[in-house]
């Protein structure tokens, strides 16, 4: 385990979220938040990818030719 410095307001919000979600620790809260952040990042990348494929009129198989 290590220590990170965060504002008291943020610490309060994390503790509240931990309680609301019934999680065992702040570590678990942050881990869940990270997973959700990374999922959103992937879904955003996917949306851009689909848009660009459409713009270019390409199919998946065209990308690896």
């Amino acid at each position: 385990m290590t220590t990170v410095a965060i504002s008291p307001e943020l610490a309060k919000e994390l503790k509240l979220l931990k309680m609301e979600e019934g999680l065992a620790s702040i570590d678990e809260v942050i881990e869940k938040m990270l997973i959700e952040y990374k999922k959103r990042r992937f879904l955003e990348a996917s949306e851009k990818f689909r848009e660009r494929m459409k713009e270019k009129g390409l199919k998946l198989e065209d990308l690896t030719k």
Binding site: R41, F42, L43, S46, R52, M53, K56, T64
Partner: protein, 136 residues
Amino acid sequence: MNIVVDTNILFSALYDPSSDAGKLILFALERRVDLFAPESVKLELEHGLRKKLAYAEAEVRETIAALPVKWVESGAYAGAMDIAKGQLTHEADVPVLACALALGHEIVSGDKHLLSIKPKIARVWRLGQLIKEIQR
């Protein structure tokens, strides 16, 4: 579970996150599976994004960073390239097999060349089969 993925799986996941390939990525983000790929797959992805979809450098970086894949440098699987070459006629798949052999991991692919590899060399999962296994 440690799995080596190929380029098609990653492009398919980006194209349709609700597909089995997309589910695999979401499972990796939830740490239910660890995904690996040789750097040749990364180069192929970057090439496709840059040259065929006209992505800017920053967009390429962001897209690659959004994929939960541990990229394996060629030096890590160079020693297994000859064995892999002996098993495959399709050159682009050789680093994928070499990477799996060097790391002792299994592969997931929809590619007929990789799927034809004998189980005693490496286990190659079909995507649907792997998704069911992870969900069990």
